[in-house]
Amino acid sequence: MDRAVFPSSSTSTSERLRSVLRPAGLFFAGAAATLVALELALRLFPVSVGLYQTEQVEARPLRTYQAHLPFTYSMTWEMRDVRHGWTNNYGQLAPFDYVPGSRPVIVVGDSYIESQMNDYRDTLQGYLGNMLRAREPVYGLGVSGMSMADYLALAHQASAEFAPRAAVFLVVDGDTSGSLIDQPGYHYFRQTADGLKLTLHRGSLHPLLRRVRQSMGDIYLFRYATRNLRFTFPALGSVFREAKAGVAAPTDREAAEQYAVIDRFLADLPGQSGIEPHCVAFLLDADRYAIYDPRLASATLDLPQARAYLMRRAAELGYRVADLEPLFRAHFKRYRRHFDYYPFDRHLNSLGHRLAAEQAYDLFDGGRCLGGAAVDARSRVDFASRGRP
């Protein structure tokens, strides 16, 4: 028997203590040396790093990240599709600063619009800006993890900061249901006696913990685990719970809550953003994997009926709405190209963003929202290349 682990009763206390401490010390020394070696090795690779959150929670989501800092993005364990970039003066991922009071067209969304995985020119806002030939500035306002509740708050902040003339919202799965989830640093709709109330969960991280978290952000191994591998300790715990839990069928209450979120959002948006509904476009994303192969269809976070309700209600209220599903389906049928980083990442790639931008442009075509520039711009857009693979 290995005495180091199971010392006999005849040994003295100090010997027993040593027989436990020595292996433990050697074990942790081996572990520590490996951690250091991994950290040094990862520093040679394009790990997803940068993008430090601001400490002023009230400034979110417009100013979520610290301004004028470089970042590196890569996806999956093998660090695919590396991108380098900078945050601008508002902490948004754009290669130029946003100008207060500039009356831009704003493009709002979550990580799909933040679009770390694409070069700026390959994003919806990049394409749209190119289509408008910079006559009207186009500002992308996107932060990973946002929902409709955050979009509303963001529209309000953008209204005060830029007085935008038009807005494009890219609505993806989870935006509606996510608006009811209370998460630190994000807005959500809280149920009150008077109905849904837009609320910001400020979070109450101790300054010391905040500093520790900031420092952890400089550790490549930590960033690799949390960003490239998307590891979280709660997710680790949920593995054991999910094994038994399964997926519950949606309830009537859930549907009612999601309808209420949509109603509230659509009702408040004009007032919060200062933009008339006909100058607001909603682009609804689709389950693109199901388009590639029906067997890949997956359960959605937002109820399908809620998605349909959003389209119907928004149109009734005068918003401009486009379902990207038929567009993607027709394009895929013709060209067999993916609109995302299938099978690794569902975020839109350059093609997906371009098609979305073209759709947004079409929605505003001939409107007054773009200050009359749309007609001029349209004549200069190379329409021969529209819909190309």
């Binding site: 180091a4 292996p23 074990f27 020394a29 364990w77 593995v239």
Partner: protein, 514 residues
Amino acid sequence: MLFNSYEFIYGFLPVTALLFFALSSSGRATLAAGCLGLASVFFYAYWSPRYTLLLLASITANYFMGRGILRLRDQQRSRDGRLLLTAAIVFNLGLLAYYKYANFFVDTLNALAATGLQVERIVLPIGISFFTFTQIAYLVDAYQGKARESNPVHYLLFVSYFPHLIAGPILHHSEMMPQFADRRIYRFDVTNFGIGATFFFIGLFKKVVLADGVQPFVGPVFDADPSYPLTFLEAWLGALAYTVQLYFDFSGYSDMAIGLSKLFNIDLPLNFNSPYKSHNIVEFWRRWHMTLSRFLRDYLYIPLGGNRHGPLRRHGNLMVTMLLGGLWHGAGWNFVVWGGLHGLYLVCNHGWRGFRARVLGQDLERQTVPGRVSGIALTFLAVVTAWVFFRAPSLPAAFNILQGMAGLHGVVLPEEWQATLAPGGAAVLAFGYLQAFGGTRQMVWVAVLLAMAWGLPNSQEFVVWLRTSVISRAGAYVAQSRSWSMLGALSVLISLLAMINGSRGVSEFIYFNF
């Protein structure tokens, strides 16, 4: 529960090891073995509580039938023993036939005779092929007097032992029962633990990094609509990607099983020995899924007559063995074709060897370098071709890939290469969009993994080197210290691999389907 999952690595394994060694250290060897057996049953039940009853029923029935066979043998009632053995084999094969082949049989009958029979889709109980074969071997050996096991705890552990239960290696009682009875395994040995953890790490690395890394390039080719004409490059790169994926997936699983077992001081038989380095197909089967080859040889090929009745009978026996071996892998005509192809390869190989020895008078042991290289290349080519049937979801899909590999759908290069290879346009080169081509990344993946399979030492060679050159070379005290440090390092690396695996969601092992 998968070996590469969080719940296994952070939940099941540490708890089981702690319980086992706690009971072992207090001298309760039988209790420790029982604990390991129960943990194994829990491991199985985590996947499907319903089929756990099937597993336990199979173990119980076979244990008592084995005892009955032994008793009849002791009483020299050979005829009754043979009857009981036959009944026991029918029972085992009946279970296997029902759960694995009923749907296949009915579908085939419906297709051939338009009978229109309806049978509900039967879910394959995971590991049934493995625990059935393991027990059939035990029963046959009990009848022949080679096996004598009366300890029900050891028998339960022998069949259900979690490292091998789901996808092998296929165990033989003669190599397991003596170990379970050996008091020396009921102790904590840091050196064995270090070796086991090293094997486990290598296996996990093969699975998570190598097999799952190349896996995304396989589906677009094999799952493509058979009406899509796969071009030369797409078909070859897809077939090669699967060739390396399967090897690293299955050998990774086997390494993990061997490593896990070594943590408990129990040696499992090796299952792989660099099969793609084989010079001929006979050698390939001595290196690939070695425990299945052993089983098929000892319990099918030799009882059929082996090579004892002349070359013609031998070839027939080889074909039958490989066809059934193919069918063992799965209930589908693809597997039958795959097994048949390998049977044919073996027949050709034996025929060629006989021709060289008898007609040409060559010494088969002597090989020139060109001969060795061409042997490896030809064997590999044959194996890759057969894998197409093994992986393809249907025969039309397999033929589509093979036609692509033969160049019948044209040789088209990806359009993104045009700017480099033919900037002005070249009439001899065709460029286009290849939907099943994974880009340069796929080519690099396949090339690197093939280089590893051909050029690097295998897991056991590496561990032997580690043990002899690094650990055991020093004195016992230093060796122990190194083992502890190595365990610390491996725990970090295994955690990292678990995170990488977790980042992808569920990633099952290919052989779980068999």
